[in-house]
Symmetry: C2
Subunit: 426 residues, 2 copies
């Protein structure tokens, strides 16, 4: 019956703080712009910390700015459970992506704490609610920065040295919002990590399900290509003398789509960021950098497709008299999520009356970075209307939010109750 | 013999102030970045004003920020002669482009003033040395903003409302460097305008000439196209659902070059500025705006070529499910420079020992805007090594600078001596 009680109070707990954070970086009709380590991110972090502190948590943060709201329920030697997501957004993003997962984890923690204080629940683990830095990768690339550093995939010094489009180092941006160095009493690597997220696709809606259990993800190959030409006047400079980096990039982008659509039509593919220098109407472009992505299940296929597009990029350089530099060429392998935790989520969902759908995620998430870093992790999805993501129209119905809150709280209850992951059932 | 004396002192006058202004916005290996109405532009304007004031000029400025160093030599009812160019640069531009013309005009004015004070020269006109605002069009489009407003082609309110890439209005940018509104005693429309500029091409060097007299310019068609798609997650969003504005822009840029190179190979063509929103690696691009240029002598041909590329842009929109908006489509007609002034420049050059080359300019210049606005104008070129322009390597040899200074001073001497344009010879 405790889960039923949580069902009635979950949205009540969530709504006030969710509304407060949703207002940070919001503009009418333009969604929410809360880029990692921006002033808006700092303001959202402060609200989260205040809310968790008032709820009884001890706030800690590591050197990359990951926030941990720590509930020391079971003593120093007890294992830790983490739950969370991220508070940063895309430019003109939605308000659910990431933020819902962080605050849902906070609601779960507060519900458990209430039961602990009431004597109805005895924890065997400590719990931390986590906000991971720069999940989106909008301002700093690569994405999944905070969870990548925590799980060991990305060296801290490398992450702190990342630069945004204006040349500002992540270290300096974090310092500007008051984050410099780690606090003294960080929680250790957790026994398990749980993340609740909106789906960013239409699979759940089309299946008529409110709860998805992610079994794994697609792989992604991310290639950053720079073409280097030579600045010159766009007027008098003879055409034969020009080395136009934007023309090369345009041929690269158009060719990338043409080749992959023809040979690998089931791969998801994009070129979504482009930086042009000097970007003046009267100066032939000297440097153009494009961020390309290919996503699919089969890494061998991504390898073949990647070789084909690299050859095409080189041809664009030759044809335009420019020089090609591949600044990054990264393969994110497909993750296989923890089977025991998947079973636990499924069982919890069913006990709450939701038949879960086992599914794959195309997108990466912090849970994927942690799972690939050796931390048993699980990723729970709730449906997003029309699958809209990274757009102001992103929306999830309150009934679906509540379903997610209920299942997440139930999973945390089971995990915190016992280090084996199953444990005491409420 | 007075011209011979000027020959020996022109570079001496020029060098100290040229070096001071060249340092504003300069970075090693990156040339000079002194965008219109930036802090750097403000600093360069202050040096120019100080130099001219110390030389005896009265400084005035109009509402668009054009600076006039006024020498009231011939009384309130006498006609005015203007000479000048611009102090703004492209990003990572050269130090000669524009700045040399302004300072050369200042040197000419100071040489005449010296002779007036010595009693050897009697002026019949007043003279203003002018710095036109935002000639380059790098930060604000269209280019030739200050001269366009002065000559009547561009309404002042429209010019002040231009926005840069960060959304800052030109009016606000000017106010930030202390320019708001016109001063009280502006000079009237001049009898003639003279501009000295580096060539930005190789015609003079290949002909072995130090002085070019511009008879006219090419026409230019400038089209600003925006493709509007829809932001979405680059991962899970099904390919069939995507409306990718950057893909459309890339097809537009690549197609623009392919079509014009095949059908109109002698036109100069470029796409040199591109603005992408939201420009995050994980968001399908919602808006992409590209600045295209076509330049040639024949406006009918530019009309046909323009229609062909507009059709191609529309097809790129259809093929990508995006919507095309043409934000600007402007034809700059070919200018024919003032024949009387050309003859005067030619005669002056020959009397100084330089055989002038009559030539066309592909690029626009402030002199072209004024000539098209009904002000008799002349444009004098000196050679630029290898024709390099809008690049840190831009360079003109001191001997060529001196040739330009000598001819410009001689032309000003003749113009100021008599309103008929020929007049008293020193």
């Amino acid at each position: 019956m405790r889960e039923a009680a949580a069902t009635t109070t979950g949205l009540d707990r969530l709504t006030p703080v969710f509304d407060r954070i949703s207002a940070i970086g919001a503009r009418p009709g333009e969604g929410v712009t809360r880029l990692a380590a921006s002033a808006e991110d700092g303001a959202a972090r402060a609200i989260f910390a205040e809310w968790m502190t008032q709820g009884g948590a001890r706030m800690e943060q590591d050197a990359i700015g990951n926030q941990f709201a720590c509930f020391d329920w079971a003593g120093e030697t007890a294992p830790w459970i983490f739950a969370g997501s991220h508070l940063d957004t895309q430019p003109r993003g939605g308000r659910f992506d990431g933020t819902f997962g962080v605050l849902a984890a906070g609601c779960g923690a507060l519900a458990l704490l209430s039961d602990i204080r009431g004597g109805g629940f005895k924890p065997a683990s400590n719990l931390a609610v986590v906000n991971w830095t720069n999940e989106e990768g909008a301002r700093y690339q690569p994405s999944l920065t905070g969870s990548g550093v925590f799980s060991g995939a990305l060296p801290l010094v490398q992450a702190l040295a990342l630069r945004d489009g204006a040349g500002i180092e992540l270290k300096a941006a974090l310092a500007a919002i008051g984050i410099s160095g780690a606090t003294q009493n960080l929680p250790p690597r957790p026994h398990a990590y749980v993340e609740l997220h909106v789906e960013q696709g239409r699979i759940l809606a089309e299946a008529g399900c409110r709860i998805g259990v992610v079994e794994g993800t697609w792989a992604a190959r991310k290639i950053t290509a720079t073409w280097i030409g030579r600045a010159a006047h766009t007027g008098p400079t003879p055409m034969a003398d020009r080395r136009d980096a934007l023309l090369a990039a345009a041929q690269g982008i158009a060719g990338f789509e043409a080749v992959t659509a023809q040979t690998y039509p089931h791969l998801h593919r994009s070129a979504a960021r482009l930086v042009v220098e000097p970007n003046s109407p009267n100066v032939v472009v000297e440097r153009a950098t494009v961020w390309f992505e290919l996503r699919g299940l089969d890494t061998a296929e991504l390898d073949r497709a990647g070789q084909a597009v690299l050859a095409l990029f080189a041809k664009a350089a030759t044809d335009t008299g420019t020089r090609l530099e591949i600044a990054a060429d990264m393969l994110r392998v497909p993750a296989e999520m923890d089977a025991g935790l998947m079973a636990l989520v499924g069982e919890t969902a069913r006990s709450a009356g939701f038949e879960p759908l086992t599914m794959r995620s195309v997108a990466g998430h912090d849970a994927v970075a942690l799972q690939n870093g050796g931390i048993a992790s699980t990723l729970i999805f709730v449906p997003s209307v029309d699958g809209i993501a990274h757009h102001p129209d992103e929306f999830t119905h309150p009934e679906a939010l509540q379903a997610g809150l209920t299942v997440l709280e139930g999973v945390l209850r089971r995990l915190v109750a016992g280090p084996a992951g199953g444990g005491q059932k409420a």
